[in-house]
Symmetry: C2
Subunit: 222 residues, 2 copies
DNA sequence: TATAAAACCGAGTAATGATTCGGCTTTCAG
DNA sequence: CTGAAAGCCGAATCATTACTCGGTTTTATA
């Protein structure tokens, strides 16, 4: 009953905080399966939400057994964590791109138009964003991801705002970036859930508001 | 669905026709305890969040046993549900007030200033709003509350927008109301979490954006 | 004071769902 | 062809927590 010497597991972190794959997928096939699991999880998030997401359900969706599932991920949270990392990566890429834009040559309107459109793409591409983001906020084990995401966006945008002409203290620019983050996040989730003309109009409203927010702080003097 | 085992208020009948008068005092106590439980739950929501909220924890916080807890509420969700209803009621009251404002005599700026300030008060008064709202969205049993809340706000604000001069189809006004709802909700949660000057500035930004949103749709013609 | 209803207690029960484990099957380098 | 590693299986186990229940204490009216 006590720990036998079945290799490798005994000296790891407590179960709940192990979040990386139990072993590095050594084959292409293995890696593909990990991705399959993440895709299936994203689908299920959309269909049933976070709280009804069980490991058995995921396994069934992939078409494997729970046992096999645990061959690729140490625990349930690790799957969501990996999914969150995917999302984080997409956001990181976008921010990296934005940083390379010729900000000096863009009008505020052009800038806002581009950022919001690009951001929407990221939201649209990620299946089950809403429950995922919700989970990242609600589940303690995923909290660091959420925190990291926010910090990353805020830092990057605060920098961008400076380049755009907001000559204020970093602190203040970060505060504005937080407002920007929450505004776009909330409204993009609405846009994603809407369709056609309605989605387009809400997107336009969002752009309008972002522009208003930035306009205000680019013209004001601290 | 919530508690029906407490009081039926407003049955202050003449002495002669009261069937069992000896019940009244204890019912008062009962009601008070129910409120105590809700208060304790709100506190715990703030402290530990939704997922670490257990019935035993609530009981301990109140200073009673789980058994007693179940004397007042049929199950755990019912407690959160009742808490959600409290919140809903506050919102309802605010919307009712707004409906009575002399909208015709207010400038857009004055209107926005008042609505947002009043709305902030409601958010501030409700301890643990964030996890509560989060729970209302995430837990299937509470979903109806969230739905009702949104529908209520959207319907009421769509009406207000009309009075303010947005001569558009209900559909479009409701779309704008949804944007208004998400904007204020997201940003007010930020404001509540901030302090002092920082909170004030974010609040001002919020008002600025709300004004921008409404301005746009009051001047545009559908 | 007697007494019945209201409150209360908290160990025990049950249900749910994550995780394990011993053995099976497939793959593939040598 | 063969052996061992990679990959797989799913019933059994473990952990957590909502909820119950038989019995005790408190309250307040007659």
């Amino acid at each position: 009953m006590a720990q036998d010497n079945t290799t490798s597991i005994g000296d790891e972190l407590p179960t709940t905080s192990r979040v990386s794959p139990r072993r590095r997928p050594s084959q292409k096939r293995s890696k593909a399966r990990s991705q399959q699991i993440l895709d299936a999880t994203a689908e299920l998030l959309d269909e049933v939400g976070v709280d009804d997401l069980t490991t058995n359900l995921i396994a069934k969706q992939v078409g494997i057994s729970v046992g096999s599932l645990y061959h690729y991920f140490p625990n349930k949270h690790a799957i969501l964590y990996a999914l969150g990392e995917r999302w984080l990566e997409q956001t990181r890429l976008l921010l990296e791109q934005i940083d390379q834009w010729p900000l000096a040559t863009l009008s505020l309107r052009e800038f806002v138009d581009k950022v919001v459109d690009q951001n929407l793409k990221v939201y649209k591409k990620q299946q089950g964003v809403l429950p995922l983001v919700q989970a990242m906020f609600a589940i303690p084990e995923l909290r660091p991801l959420d925190q990291y995401h926010d910090d990353m966006v805020i830092a990057a945008m605060a920098k961008v705002f400076k380049q755009l002409g907001a000559h204020k203290h970093v602190h203040e620019r970060e505060r504005i970036a937080r407002a920007y983050l929450e505004l776009t996040h909330a409204l993009l989730l609405v846009v994603v859930s809407q369709q056609g003309q309605r989605a387009k109009r809400t997107l336009d409203d969002l752009k309008w508001m972002v522009e208003a927010l930035l306009q205000r702080h680019l013209t004001d003097i601290d």
